[in-house]
Symmetry: C2
Subunit: 187 residues, 2 copies
């Protein structure tokens, strides 16, 4: 399992760090024996939208790694000071240049092997004036049957889209939680 590697130097005082279990803790942390700082590392929230126009869903083709050239829902790392909903709206604006009305929370996906939690909201496109931002090569609308299923960037994008179309077919939208594991080919 790929976990983010520990830091080498204390970000508070610049002293080389020691990897040990702090007093009262149960896990190894990056500890500074000079200033006493303990540098915790936590999973990061990724936030995005399933933005729709009638029967179609908005996807962005990635202009950045990882998964350059593959299609994704507009999403990205949540920033400090914003809510998940604000972050999802911001990413939709930044990556797809899209104007949306935000809807309810749709899914929470745990992706422990990359230390992320992916949170998607439903959203409704207000117009068709979208355009790729700096991190996108292209932005397009797709129906369920034109979605480039084999060229989606991430497992959470495929999972969100499958759940979305499944819910839509039943005309009942839920809020979903799943844990996603690495592809079987990845060892």
């Amino acid at each position: 399992m790929l976990l983010r590697s520990g830091s080498r130097f204390c970000s508070a005082c610049g002293t080389p760090l020691t990897r040990r279990v702090p007093t009262g803790d149960l896990r190894e942390r990056d500890c500074c024996d000079a200033c006493g700082a303990i540098h915790y590392v936590n999973p990061r929230p990724v936030v995005g939208t399933i933005a729709v126009w009638d029967e179609q869903v908005l996807l962005c083709r990635r202009a950045i790694e990882p998964r350059h050239g593959f299609w994704t829902l507009p999403a990205g790392f949540m920033e400090v000071g914003e809510s998940t909903l604000e972050g999802a709206l911001r990413e939709t604006q930044e990556e797809a240049g899209a104007h949306v009305e935000m809807g309810p929370l749709f899914s929470v996906f745990d992706v422990p092997h990359v230390e992320q939690v992916h949170i998607f909201f439903r959203a409704r496109l207000l117009d068709l004036n979208f355009a790729p931002g700096p991190e996108s090569l292209d932005v397009q609308l797709f129906t369920e049957h034109t979605i480039p299923w084999d060229d989606l960037a991430f497992g959470t994008v495929a999972a969100a889209l499958r759940l979305y179309f499944s819910d839509r077919a039943r005309a009942v939208f839920g809020t979903h939680h799943q844990t996603l594991f690495p592809p079987a080919t990845s060892t």
Copy 2:
């Protein structure tokens, strides 16, 4: 708004950091001009449970700051390598010594002023052999009417409990999303 302060030294190489907008970015980050590292800071997920025994909900009285002596749902920072559900289970075991069967995702609360996302799952106590862990002074079961509403540690705990009892009264449990803001007295 209290945002986590930037780091002073590069955790990769120990060089003093510069606060600036990196090329291609839209926000100021802690940047290392020596090794090129950019140190992003993201909100942190907090995970916990609403663990019940018949009509009663399990609460822990905090043995640590912040909010020492106040009552909370068992919850804590999500660790790398675990899912939100695994983290919520772990915190319930660590803080309350409780044996639970995990249930569905219940709520996602944004708490932007403390840069956190609080994620609670419903859970069912399997027995009454719970006991305070190192971070708890006491662990007790409360009915809706005995909950120490004035002595709850955090707004998200109160919000989760209110939603839980409201859903239970209707006998329909949903998955909720809310953004919580600082108390009006906090300026």
